[in-house]
């Protein structure tokens, strides 16, 4: 037999989706900030629209991750991805809970923010943890 080491199709689709949404995020955020900061006051509806345009690609990344869980046809890899997702969620909830109480007890001024970004960071951190000795 000959060994062919290629990226599985489900990972290629995930990588393509990730690239698409991250590119869209950079474009949407840059465009929205430039628009919002130039030209004076904007209507509330316009600002809500800019917020939604900036948020949409991030929601797209969440969708790409959950499609990855659905499409992974290697059951052991899917199990690892699910463990990674659950660990990331648990770590994120722990972080924002502590963060929230730090704000409640006036240790810090601002409560949890950018929870999605925290979750992405925890998803990245959880990847090697669940694969360690897997």
């Amino acid at each position: 037999m000959t060994t062919h080491k290629t990226m599985p199709a489900y990972m290629r689709r995930y990588a393509a989706r990730l690239l698409l949404f991250m590119g869209a995020y950079v474009a949407a955020l840059t465009g929205s900030l430039i628009f919002a900061n130039n030209g004076g006051d904007h209507a509330q509806g316009t600002l809500i629209g800019l917020a939604l345009i900036s948020a949409f690609p991030i929601i797209g990344v969440f969708w790409a991750i959950f499609r990855l869980l659905v499409e992974a046809d290697d059951e052991y890899q899917r199990l690892l991805l699910i463990k990674q997702t659950l660990l990331a969620t648990a770590l994120t909830l722990a972080i924002v809970t502590v963060w929230q109480f730090l704000q409640v007890f006036d240790v810090i001024d601002t409560g949890p923010q950018w929870v999605g970004a925290v979750w992405f960071a925890m998803w990245g951190l959880a990847a090697p943890v669940v694969r360690w000795r897997a």
Binding site: M1, T3, K5, D73, D74, E75, Y76, Q77, L79, A134
Partner: protein, 63 residues
């Protein structure tokens, strides 16, 4: 659950990568099954059995 995957693979002179390619799964998955860290689903167990042309119970054994 114990299994004879490593022995059967060695008898055929297959690497973990060869077996992974034949089953269209990752080498890491083969390693996890061989070392008993992961028990495959019934559909995957049947695919493994078909590949070796053996009944499932000749590959996977009760603890």
């Amino acid at each position: 659950m114990k299994n004879r995957l490593k022995v059967l693979r060695a008898e055929r002179d297959w690497t973990q990568g060869d077996l992974a390619d034949a089953l269209e799964i990752s080498r890491q998955s083969i390693n996890a099954i061989e070392t008993g860290k992961y028990d495959p689903s019934l559909p995957l167990a049947f695919r493994i059995a078909d590949l070796f042309n053996l009944p499932i119970e000749a590959i996977f054994l009760r603890d």
